[in-house]
Symmetry: C2
Subunit: 604 residues, 2 copies
């Protein structure tokens, strides 16, 4: 066990003591889940991740995917890694047995996957997208589409992508112009011909899988040949790179071509492509247009894609947490090994001490720990809600999950990135060199606040949909859970003050959220949605951090003492250093709602 | 004029309206300074920077310096740029006429240099270090050393370095082990032989200058052959790469060799070397050791180097401000050109609007503006203090400069970096690609909180020396200036609220600083020095931002209306969104002083 990727004692604590995932075994599909299977899976994940993913972390950054004629070539070590991942059956972890899966809870699959993300997020992006693609197909595809395109992905033979953005339509999917024209039907169902350009397609092409299944958003023109404005006109299509049986053109190369590769700041091992659909390079069935099969009903594309997107957003949060986690573990190691300076008052001729003994470095390590472990806890908590909601039919869990998804995506991305930034700072000049991994961890992590919906987009979703449209119902349920934790803190002498600070933060946030929900226009809140999301994110993580510390104290006799002390220190740090930031973020919502509306571009 | 590097209207406002640099002409050396010479210099700087520095911004990142046998080769475009810079006489801007300089104030030289830093900080690092090196020599070197090593740097024929850190001694210079043994004297004064390894030497070798003058910290062994522990034993030596007349070994290659190049996250055009002194590759005078000449008295090395270091710290702040500034200008351009999404309530079939019209993007642009323009104003303010202190013998200016130097270095580095980070976010996926400059601006800027003393080191200097040891005297003088600005704000209907917010921030910070100064141990403050530095930095920039807005309003009839409106918007933004962060940073100084002392490494 390396412990350099995800510390096992922490992961065991989160899964078993804090979330109690073993209780999920009470739900029929998870009946075989127990501590032994969990341990075996995590052991396997840790060892595979270290051996096949971490080993080419730098190589993947240095040898970017390249376009060789029509095909994208990726590093051979990535092929090897993904083959090992497939052979271990890990693509299928969270799928039903009927689809060839291991039938594990999403929570457990996420805990396994965190190791691969921590070791090499760019390589791990391929299975992440493939699993999300296959899950969408298993839910919304016809039995024929599932058999032809989902099952090979669950085996890890085909990989998947999601094709949403276009060069002129990034955050604003309403403006996509890819067209899908009806072209009859065949053994895979209603067939269409697609034409358009898709931007930012991760895994858009590569040479590591037998085939690629693109899930593509496009608009079906009306009888007048025009596209319906807005998101209502968007439909979803499965577009294989090589056409498959029982479709009519099985074996033909589809008309999907790579128009270019994006060269990124980080995440470089993931081939990120501009794809042209239907430009005419290939003509399956000797007709124009890329062949695609409708998934779900016409006009339901965005709604269906958002089911995939919600899981992808949690995966982004998980990736950010995993990168933060490795950044933190590397920092702890460096800070305990690097001797520099002396404690205050020590004589000049005494030996220098490890920098982990200096107050400012301790503060940085503790901040990192609270961000990295906080993000991991937050995201696993959300996957646990997803398991309870989906398999357990728990509507309260679903409502809380809906509320927390933009927080899990954004808080983990924003503060996980800070943890990676702190890692550079702790490593000093060495951290700024490419001889150490931390600058790459930062560059890889920098994508997370951007993809699958930027922080600004998440904030609008959170305030507009999850608070205002929900009329604060889910938020009120969240507050009840926070209050219960605070009440428990009163019994812990070392955490009573942290509980009091959490109560103050809760009161400040709750008061503001209530006023936002009561205001039908909510202009100030929507103008400052990002600030409100920051405040709510810190409240949620502050709550979870305290809740973990209390659980650790309550189970102290079964846990490593350093783990208990560390969780208590993190909770005290978070309450003293982080929660007091909340009133500052909330201030503009009260004082200056109209500050921005008067600004013209020339004034910047 | 490009305005893409530093916006001229803003720079004119800062220099002429806000700082009133023309008044420096009352000091004898600056008698020839006037608006025309200033305009000519800034025009020249803008055009040279755009033509010769900006033009290879990406190339400098992609084609790193490489070690070719014994020599480091850098990009030919860097040679061309530095030759043009030298031919324009810009190395000598701030030097006395007797040394071949243009005798301009440091403030003006900084305003000129900001263009080059903004265009290409890695290339600009060579003249930055050279000028700092030459200034130290002109102040502390003998006439012979000045003639032999400073004047060629002022002409731009030789370049300079500063050699402080060693692999085992980064922040902790007390632990350097480079030895300097007396070796008689020659036409350049007391001669020593140096042996040791120096790490992180920017410009440590390159092929663009005729010679390189290294300023090296080393310890002279005592009679027992041992080095004196601590910083008291440190002396300073001028060590040319090629020995020069009237030294005895003129023309010989000195025993300074490049042991390796550091490969960095950014700032890649600057060759950063591990240098070995006295390893025996060359033997000037057929004896062992690198030949160096003592600068100043033995044991005075660190004190002298700190004069250079203080200027270098302001230069780091200036560099961070300049990178932030370009990040902001690029963001404004992108945000006004990129159409995406619609205003709330607009119909789906209306055209998308530029993202600069969305509230969250306006907030980001305004935050960036306040960081970039705030950092530039702060650093120019400090250079202006330096001119008044040095040439004008103004002791109050010197005291305020000493207080503000760690703030100018740190606040600009930390928040300038945030401005570069925001630039990536505003550019979305495009900003994450290397097709745009913003990810490189971020990577370049990431060095600034590290080099010339990390943020943690600056904070200890600020709290330990500039507040506690000074007994709060300089801080009290700063508060008087803040109060005067606040009083002026009462007369401005649009800024009275910003003045009130500044007053609240001032009260919170002042109360805490007073309690820190009154506490002889000041443990809580030193343990949380970074938080206190953050709070004081935000207070200072909040004050300067409001002060600029008031000056702009008072002179509105002579200024572009967008500039006045922009300065007012920045002041209102800063008071409503930024100053409220201060109480959160101060909270731990009150509540949890002992949080860190109990932590052991295993708990992280």
């Amino acid at each position: 066990m390396t412990d350099a990727l995800i510390r096992r004692s922490d992961l065991d604590f989160l899964l078993l003591d804090w979330l109690g995932v073993e209780r999920l075994a009470a739900l029929a599909p998870f009946a075989e889940l127990n501590r032994e299977t969990l341990t075996a899976l995590l052991d396997l994940s840790d060892s595979l991740a270290a051996r096949h993913f971490l080993s080419h972390y730098k190589a993947g950054d240095q040898s970017e995917p390249r376009l060789d004629g029509e095909s994208v070539r990726i590093l051979p070590a990535i092929h090897t890694a993904l083959k090992a991942y497939a052979e271990a059956g890990l693509f299928g972890q969270s799928f039903a047995a009927e689809h060839g899966g291991l039938q594990l809870p999403l929570t457990v699959a996420a805990a396994s996957f965190a190791h691969f993300l921590s070791a090499n997020i760019a390589t791990a992006a391929y299975p992440m997208l493939t699993v999300a693609n296959a899950r969408l197909l298993t839910r919304f595809g016809s039995p024929e589409l599932i058999a032809a395109l989902a099952l090979p992905q669950i085996e890890g033979r085909f990989f998947g992508t999601m094709c949403l953005s276009e060069p002129q339509a990034g955050s604003s999917l309403a403006d996509i112009t890819t067209r899908a024209v009806a072209d009859g039907a065949d053994g895979l169902g209603a067939r269409y011909r697609l034409a358009g350009n898709k931007m930012w397609i991760s895994g858009g092409d590569q040479d590591a899988s037998d085939n690629i299944c693109h899930l593509v958003l496009a608009k079906i023109p009306g009888p007048d040949g025009k596209l319906v404005p807005g998101t209502a006109g968007i439909s979803l299509f499965a577009v294989p790179k090589v056409l498959v049986a029982p479709g009519e053109f099985a074996g033909s190369r589809n008309d999907v071509t790579v128009a270019g590769l994006n060269h990124k700041m980080g995440y470089r091992g993931t081939a990120n492509c501009l794809l042209n659909f239907g430009e005419g390079r290939h003509r399956p069935g000797d007709a124009a247009g890329a062949v695609g099969y409708l998934v779900g009903a016409p006009g339901q594309g965005l709604a269906i894609m958002f089911m995939m997107m919600n899981e992808a957003r949690l995966q982004v949060g998980l990736g950010a947490a995993a990168l933060a986690y490795r950044s933190h573990r590397l920092s702890v190691t460096y800070a305990t090994e690097r001797a520099q300076g002396r404690p205050r008052g020590a004589a000049a001729d005494t030996s220098p001490v490890p920098i982990a003994r200096h107050a400012d470095v301790k503060r940085l390590l503790l901040a990192q720990k609270s961000y990295a472990e906080g993000a991991l806890a937050l995201v696993l908590f959300c996957f646990h809600l997803a398991d309870r909601a989906e398999v357990g039919q728990d509507q309260a869990a679903q409502a809380l999950l809906d509320l927390l998804t933009p927080i899990a995506k954004t808080w983990s991305s924003e503060w996980g990135l800070v943890a990676s930034d702190i890692a550079i700072q702790i490593h000093g000049g060495y951290g700024y060199t490419r001889d150490f991994d931390v600058e790459q961890l930062y560059r890889d992590n920098r994508l997370n606040p951007i993809h699958e919906g930027t922080t600004g987009i998440q904030a609008l979703d959170f305030v507009g949909r999850k608070l205002v449209r929900d009329k604060g119902v889910a938020f009120a349920a969240l507050l009840q859970q926070i209050d219960a934790t605070q009440a428990r803190a009163a019994a812990s002498p070392t955490l009573v003050e942290a509980g009091r600070m959490l109560g103050m933060a809760r009161a400040a946030v709750a008061e503001l959220v209530e006023s936002v929900v009561a205001d039908p226009a909510a202009t100030a809140a929507l103008d400052n949605a990002t600030a409100l999301l920051s405040a709510c994110g810190h409240l949620v993580v502050g709550w979870m951090t305290l809740d973990q510390a209390l659980t650790a104290q309550e189970r102290a006799d079964q846990l490593p003492p350093e783990l208990v002390a560390g969780k208590v220190a993190a909770a005290r740090y978070f309450s003293a250093h982080e929660l007091p930031k909340i009133p500052g973020w909330l201030a503009p919502l009260r004082s200056a709602p109209q500050l921005f509306s008067e600004l013209s571009a020339e004034m910047f």
